[in-house]
């Protein structure tokens, strides 16, 4: 199934994903309407379930706020595919069971609004008439992700 791409630039920081002033709202459901407010105030209204974010280098740099991957997941974003990620955002995403995928070549091949077909289990994404292979996660992290996150795996341990 094809999904719409939302393309962002390099160094998208966590303040741009969800600004500080919304972090102490009661829950992620209330926060998610403000996602990407400073970059695209209508993003939360227009994004669809299953859409994919494509970004350049260092996506999610800045603060440790887990609210950043959480609002994207709550809006139904299927995954972020970037050339590289900042480490805390990357780790937080895996911990909440939200796919973050490193793919060096996709960024230059697609434009905002293109359609893409992401196959999470195969680790491939097809867009602009080509299929791109994404970097594989280490097995340890893949396990956390496929169990639905760290809390799900903790509950399984008992």
């Amino acid at each position: 199934m094809s999904n719409q791409i939302w393309k962002f630039h390099n160094d998208v920081d966590t303040d741009q994903i969800i600004a500080s002033q919304y972090l102490l709202l009661p829950d992620v459901e209330e926060m998610k309407q403000y996602t990407f407010e400073s970059l695209d105030p209508d993003f939360a209204k227009n994004v669809h379930e299953g859409d994919i974010i494509v970004a350049g280098e260092n996506f999610g740099c800045g603060s440790s706020r887990e609210q950043a991957p959480s609002v994207l997941k709550a809006l139904g974003v299927k995954a972020v595919i970037a050339r590289s990620f900042a480490r805390i955002f990357y780790r937080n995403s895996i911990n909440i069971g939200f796919p973050v995928i490193v793919c060096k070549d996709l960024y230059d091949a697609v434009k905002d609004g293109d359609m893409a077909d992401l196959d999470l289990s195969a680790g491939t994404v097809t867009a602009a008439g080509k299929t791109f292979t994404c970097t594989k996660l280490p097995e340890y992290m893949q396990n956390i992700l496929s169990q639905g996150g760290l809390i799900a795996s903790l509950n399984k341990e008992g």
């Binding site: 920081d13 741009q16 500080s20 400073s38 260092n58 706020r65 887990e66 609210q67 903790l154």
Partner: protein
């Protein structure tokens, strides 16, 4: 094969004799810190998502309210209530309004060789005492709280050999902003930044905190200064014993080695909207950029030497009428020390608003938020788009002395321009 300081700390926490980069280990956490930026969400998860809620060791956990303190609206008040009640119900040590979390952790808890998770990116600060501090999200924090452990992928280490001394009027803040400008905002992603050499040992613990605190702005997982007698002294003065003073082995492997002559460092002004948007004060001052607000404070640069440097600049002078000059000491201890030294009086006589010890303007949520197209020069941690208020506003970063001079002049400049 030899190990770096960070590798030795991870090996100790994992209970193994050797680790190497990219290995994944289960580690015991020596300590964990969470602040009011995310704790209400952690508490919700603890209460609603866990099959068997439990706390492995409450004495290893510290809660610190510092981000929106005191509460600025009813929703924040509810988030705070949740955090406060959870701490009381579970016997977790809670600080409220006593300072910025990292400053309190340094004053009251951090020991060399410890592995510490903090639910805040600037947890890297603890490397000033030879500890491995790293920022995590609330799910990671919750897992650690429940199990007392976590997983760590061993990072590679970048070594920074520092030589000599900073010149008068040049600060640790200028040094780390120069380094970040050189290696870039992702120049240390998933790496440890290790500082050593005579230049590192010449720096005070406060100055080392400035370095380690900002390493996350280059993407680092941790920043660590090789611990020495100054670290042992600091621990003793704060009632603690320095046990694990790790140094890198002579044959330790570094992903890269950098050399810095501290006497060559100059005052820096970082331009909006990225921490690596480096410029020299001597170039920026020519542009006479008007500022609407000046902030001195934060976990990076709100300690006694910073307030002292600002006071020296503004003594006997007045803040420009077009400028709001805001100061938030990093902790109540810093505040009290500054009061005793007369620093607070000097700043107030110059027209500064002195605020309670908290994250304040640096995080753009509850104090001194700036409006459309306004310009702030700040000693805060970052200058991302909209970081301090309206998305169109601009944040410049500089040392306390440069910020103080800019408050007097009303445009970005250094003390020698007054």
């Amino acid at each position: 094969m030899g190990m770096t300081i960070g590798e030795k700390i991870i090996a100790r926490a994992a209970g193994v004799s050797e680790v190497k980069p990219n290995d994944i280990h289960t580690v015991k956490l020596d300590r964990m810190m969470s602040n009011d930026g995310t704790t209400h969400l952690t508490v919700d998860m603890y209460k609603n998502k866990l099959k068997h809620p439990r706390i492995a060791d409450k004495d290893k956990i510290v809660f610190i309210m510092d981000h929106n303190v005191p509460a600025e609206n009813p929703k924040t008040a509810e988030a705070h209530k949740k955090m406060r009640n959870f701490a009381r119900e579970n016997g977790i040590k809670l600080y409220e309004g006593q300072g910025v979390c990292h400053q309190i952790m340094m004053e009251d808890y951090v020991c060399p060789g410890e592995l510490i998770f903090g639910a805040d990116s600037h947890t890297t600060s603890y490397g000033a005492l030879g500890a491995f501090g790293t920022g995590v999200g609330c799910t990671d924090f919750l897992y650690g709280m429940v199990t007392g452990s976590s997983w760590v992928m061993v990072p590679e280490t970048l070594r920074f050999n520092l030589h000599g001394k900073l010149r008068e009027g040049v600060y640790a803040r200028d040094l780390i902003l120069t380094i970040i400008g050189d290696i870039g905002a992702n120049g240390a992603t998933y790496k440890i930044m290790e500082f050593a050499g005579d230049g590192a040992h010449n720096l005070s613990i406060d100055e080392r905190m400035v370095l380690c605190n900002l390493t996350v702005e280059a993407g680092a997982k941790a920043g660590i200064v090789e611990p020495d007698e100054k670290v042992a002294d600091y621990c003793r003065q704060h009632g603690r014993e320095a046990v694990h003073m790790f140094k890198s082995d002579p044959d330790a492997r570094f992903a890269a080695v950098y050399e810095y002559d501290l006497s060559q460092i100059e005052p820096v002004v970082v331009r909006p909207d990225f921490v690596d948007n480096f410029a020299l004060l001597r170039d920026v001052r020519e542009e006479k950029i008007p500022v609407d607000e000046v902030f001195i404070g934060s976990c990076n640069n709100g300690r006694l030497p910073d307030l002292r440097a600002a006071a020296q600049v503004v003594k006997g002078r007045k803040t420009a009428p077009s400028v709001r000059f805001l100061v938030a000491p990093a902790s109540n201890q810093v505040y009290i020390d500054a009061l005793k030294e007369g620093i607070i009086t000097t700043l107030m006589e110059a027209g500064a608003m002195i605020m309670n010890s908290n994250c304040s303007v640096c995080w753009g949520s509850c104090q001194g938020v700036i409006g459309e197209n306004e310009v702030l020069i700040s000693t805060g941690t970052r200058n991302f788009k909209g970081r301090a208020g309206h998305p169109s506003s601009k944040v410049y970063l500089a040392s306390a002395a440069t910020c103080a001079a800019s408050a007097i002049a009303g445009t970005i400049c250094g003390p020698e321009d007054l």
